[in-house]
Amino acid sequence: MNEGEAPKSPEKPKPLEDFEARLREAKAEIQPAAPNGPAKETITGLGAALRIGTELVAALVVGVGIGYMLDNWLETAPWFLVLFFFLGAAAGILNVYRAASSIGLTETDVKQDKNYGED
């Protein structure tokens, strides 16, 4: 970042009193240049891309797992597996919908993150 700005100076160059004023000055200088930085937006978008893929699968895995175990326990061969497969699929789609809407994915986000969609 600021390379020449004396990274480790043991003695303070200026007294503390006017620190607030200098800080305000510096802030006023910087603020218009970077309104809420684009870097953070990219990170949340990438995070969303990596997140959504597994949401769908995880609910399905849990659903099928529960159905399979219930079948084993109650000896009702395929019925609970079938029922919980569909419930799991529904839960997975619900997860994806929630994930997408909670992050507030917009069209431009989706376009930006297409390259990183592998999950």
């Binding site: 990274p7 620190f19 995070g47 597994t54 995880a58 849990v62 529960i66 799991g88 839960a91």
Partner: protein, 241 residues
């Protein structure tokens, strides 16, 4: 060519047996210890100066602190502040584990599903307990969205419960799968470098260089995703969306 999955084998370093339970120190355990040591050294040494105008190291430590503090503030609100120590530890642990795992000849314990699953189930149970303590029985209204006609309830409640139960699974699968896939790919391409000879070997080597950079991104991003989801789940438990 070496087996690309060989890097994930667990080796016992110091055999320890406590009452019939195998509690040996393995390479996985060793790297967990190293990760915790690295975080401790990083945070304590970089904050030793406590300068008003931070240097490079102190700036890095403050940046990581403020990153998680800001994440908690944005996603949970001021009530989330008391869970900061846990969330910060979680983030630093996963981040350092992923980054240390990228050093050649080291071991990435986040590429084992049992490790990620135990972290995820801890988050899941913790969040559920926090929610039940804060809201008592009202916590279970989480499974029935408001304004739903009662006819739909028998269908919607199982779906909501499944969706809730899938949280630890998706948390753990995501981290483990990304780390394992990335490291396997690195190894697969690395295995082509020498067999393809002096002229052909440059292509997989180039791919490996690019993949390494990508893995650094993934290492950070997966720590970030794990942490932000912990924040979101915490928010659900505290505010019952």
């Amino acid at each position: 060519m070496a087996n690309p999955l060989q890097q994930f084998t667990i080796n016992t370093l110091v055999p320890i047996k406590i009452g019939g339970i195998d509690a040996s120190l393995t390479n996985s355990g060793l790297f967990m210890v190293l990760t915790v040591a690295a975080i401790t050294v990083f945070l304590t040494l970089s904050m030793r100066g406590r300068a008003l105008v931070p240097g490079r190291w102190q700036s890095m430590a403050e940046l990581s602190y403020e990153f998680i503090a800001g994440m908690l503030r944005d996603n949970v609100g001021s009530e989330g502040r008391r869970y900061f120590p846990f969330v910060f530890s979680l983030f630093m642990f996963i981040l350092f584990a992923n980054l240390i795992g990228l050093i050649p000849y080291s071991f990435t314990f986040t590429s084992h599903i049992i490790v990620t699953f135990s972290m995820a189930i801890f988050v899941f149970l913790g969040v559920t307990v926090i929610g039940i303590i804060r809201h008592r029985l009202r916590f279970f209204t989480l499974f029935l969205p408001s304004g739903v006609p009662m006819v739909m309830a028998p269908l919607l409640i199982p779906i909501e419960i499944l969706s809730y139960l899938s949280r630890p699974v998706s948390l753990s699968i995501r981290l483990f799968a990304n780390m394992m896939a990335g490291h396997t790919m690195l190894k697969v391409f690395a295995g082509f470098v020498v067999p393809l000879g002096f002229f052909g070997g440059w292509a997989p080597l180039g791919v490996d260089v690019a993949l390494t950079a990508f893995e650094f991104l993934v290492a950070f991003l997966q720590a970030y995703v794990f942490t932000i989801l912990t924040c979101l789940y915490l928010n659900d438990a505290i505010h019952l969306h």
